[in-house]
């Protein structure tokens, strides 16, 4: 699956893969949370899943990763992930959860190094290649000066960068991000999204993310999918998906959509008594 020439010192990440989700249905107990979801992310594309709270965004990501029992098919470059050994899947798909668990007493370097797990036998020590990839990724994400720091002492933005670095050290072909900016202020959110965008353009990495900030979603992702009550109710470019009618119908929100140079911006409108 991953062609890598022998003797090549530092394998470059492969370019992104096409991710297809076909007829994905999932639930908790008898409650159906996702209903025949169908999505395609082109290689090097960024699809952001938007939708109101409880619409199934996180469950969708977790099902694509195979953590949540589901029906339907997930394919990476045409290969169904269901039959893949877990380690092979981990070399295709990397995941950064909404609230990552940051182990205590662990340095940034050791944490980023965990991303190499699917590339070596579980019990084996890191090899030279692993260390090199970790150093490269940390340098790219400007974490090299923080390498010896304990994770818990990093700021929120730095921690988010460390989580991204760990995912990138996996050298995945698709990056799945669950609310990467959930706990960040606007400036740090923009930094993280700029970073993801840069990585996507440089490496051709495919990105599937959830984003609840509609304006940011519209500015960074090239396609959006609006999930409501477990169904994809609209999919397309940001301008096609983010309309005040859609916000009214699916979010129950009163908002104006202003079309700026970098995409649609959502302006909430206060109710008038």
């Amino acid at each position: 699956m991953r062609g890598r020439a022998a003797g090549e010192p530092v394998p470059r990440p492969d370019s992104g893969a096409r991710l297809e989700v076909l007829g994905l249905t999932a639930g908790y107990g008898r409650t159906r949370v996702l209903d025949a979801v169908r999505l395609t992310v082109e290689p090097g594309g960024w699809l952001a899943i938007i939708g109101p709270n409880g619409s199934g965004k996180s469950t969708l990501l977790r099902s694509v990763l195979g953590f949540h029992p589901h029906e339907g098919l997930v394919r990476v470059d045409g290969v169904p992930t269901a039959g893949m050994p877990r380690r092979d899947r981990a070399r295709c798909l990397a995941y950064a959860p909404q609230t990552p668990v940051l182990p205590e007493g662990v340095t940034t370097r050791d944490y980023v190094g965990l991303g190499r797990t699917p590339h070596r036998p579980l019990l084996a020590a890191p090899r030279g290649v692993d260390r090199q990839v970790v150093e490269d990724v940390m340098a790219r994400l400007e974490l090299d000066l923080l390498a010896e720091r304990l994770l818990a002492t990093l700021s929120g933005g730095e921690q988010q960068r460390a989580v991204l670095a760990r995912a990138l050290a996996q050298q995945p072909r698709v990056l799945l991000l669950d609310e990467p900016t959930a706990a960040l202020d606007l400036g740090h959110a923009q930094q993280v999204l700029d970073l993801v965008d840069r990585l996507r353009r440089q490496d051709g990495l495919t990105v599937l993310s959830t984003l609840h900030d509609l304006t940011l979603a519209g500015q960074y992702a090239d396609r959006l999918a609006l999930l409501s009550e477990g169904r994809v109710v609209s999919e397309g470019t940001p301008a096609e998906v983010i309309t005040s009618a859609a916000l009214q119908t699916h979010y129950g929100a009163r908002a104006e959509v202003v079309h700026g140079p970098s995409g649609p911006a959502v302006l909430p409108v206060r109710a008038v008594d």
């Binding site: 205590e104 965990l114 797990t117 700021s155 706990a183």
Partner: protein
């Protein structure tokens, strides 16, 4: 109250730049702990009711070790002294090292697998099960031993495994391998077995002394045969746990993320729990319930090498061995010729030592 409470995206403000930087040398810590263990073993064989000359002890040991190779080391101990060394002190010291090492690494593994700093090897019912087994054997067994193995260790070993097995079964029935469910199942099983043990004990007040003696932990009757009995279980379990250190580090990021890194969290957790419980069962079978070691030694190890399990596990093994050997020396010296129960001494020495470490750590 979990080890992983650090929330992912908490803005940490106002940290001086070097606050989290800590120069750690895992190799140095391991070498130091190894030396400490050797030193503890030597002190353990020198000190006792009959003091043995250090030089002569070393000469005798070398003579015994090198004898088969045809090397004769002069200056050994006299006949009686040699018997004390080889039949009493050496097995006792080695057994203490094995038990301490096994309990400490099992504790570190439990803490890693449950991501909980308060976990210890007795958490899932191993202690309560072993206690019930030993109490039943002391109270009701018509025989003293089955073949070469005493009935009390055998019953304690079986009881520990049954305790952990019931907790695992109950936890799996109740909610899969999710760790909080498993912890609660362990607490329920332990409470039930402890109640049963108390009941049996109250029905057999004649045996109270013997039961208490076992519950408080003992190394005084250590023999070579004990070492032969526990070594296969302890050794195998320790090897498995040492190999699992790196995998436990992956598990530390949470089940979903571990799975996204290609690990099977449920399988890994089961393997580690089974190995750690086997080590615990073997240890308690011969030594009774020695507390404190499995809970605190891993924290001591973390003070030196940080939170990474691939470093904490081997270091805990060495520190645990040295700690229990030295504790046992204190237990038999302080009121000589009488002996204190080792389970009492571990906490008496360990608690102030640990408090001191916390204090020093906080001031740094």
């Amino acid at each position: 109250m979990t080890a992983t409470a650090g929330s992912g995206t908490r803005p940490g403000s106002g940290h001086p730049p070097a606050a989290g930087t800590r120069r750690r040398r895992p190799g140095l810590a391991l070498a130091g702990a190894g030396l400490a263990l050797v030193a503890a073993l030597l002190v353990g064989v020198w000190v006792g009711a009959l003091p043995l000359a250090p030089g002569a002890v070393v000469a005798t040991l070398l003579d015994r070790l090198l004898g088969p190779l045809g090397v004769d080391v002069p200056g050994g101990l006299s006949g009686t002294e040699e018997a004390v060394l080889l039949q009493l002190r050496l097995p006792r010291v080695l057994l203490a090292a094995l038990i301490g090492a096994g309990l400490a690494i099992a504790g570190a593994a439990y803490q890693g697998v449950f991501r909980n700093p308060l976990a210890d090897p007795y958490l899932l019912g191993a202690a309560a099960g072993a206690g019930l087994g030993a109490t039943l054997a002391i109270a009701y067994s018509p025989v003293q031993s089955l073949g070469p193995i005493g009935i009390v260790p055998l019953a304690a070993f079986a009881g520990a495994l049954i305790g952990v097995g019931s907790a695992l079964a109950l936890g799996t029935l109740a909610g899969g391998s999710h760790s909080p469910t498993l912890l609660l199942a362990g607490i329920a099983v332990a409470a039930f077995l402890a109640a049963a043990q108390t009941l049996v004990q109250q029905q057999n007040t004649d045996d109270l002394r013997e039961i208490y003696g076992w519950l408080l932990g003992q190394l005084g009757k250590a023999q070579w045969s004990d070492i032969v009995v526990v070594l296969p279980y302890l050794g195998a379990a320790c090897i498995v746990l040492l190999l699992c250190g790196r995998a436990l580090d992956v598990l530390a990021v949470g089940d979903d993320e571990a799975a996204s890194l290609g690990v099977h969290p449920g399988r890994l957790r089961l393997l580690v729990i089974v190995a750690a419980s086997l080590a615990t069962a073997a240890a308690v079978a011969v030594s009774g319930l020695i507390g404190f070691v499995g809970l605190v030694v891993p924290h001591i190890a973390r003070r030196f090498v940080g939170g990474s399990n691939s470093r904490v596990l081997p270091l805990s093994l060495l520190i645990g061995g040295a700690f229990l050997v030295l504790t046992d020396v204190v237990a038999r010296v302080i009121l000589a010729p009488a002996e204190l129960p080792i389970g009492v001494v571990t906490a008496f020495i360990g608690a102030p030592f640990f408090a001191g470490l916390l204090w020093v750590g906080a001031r740094r």
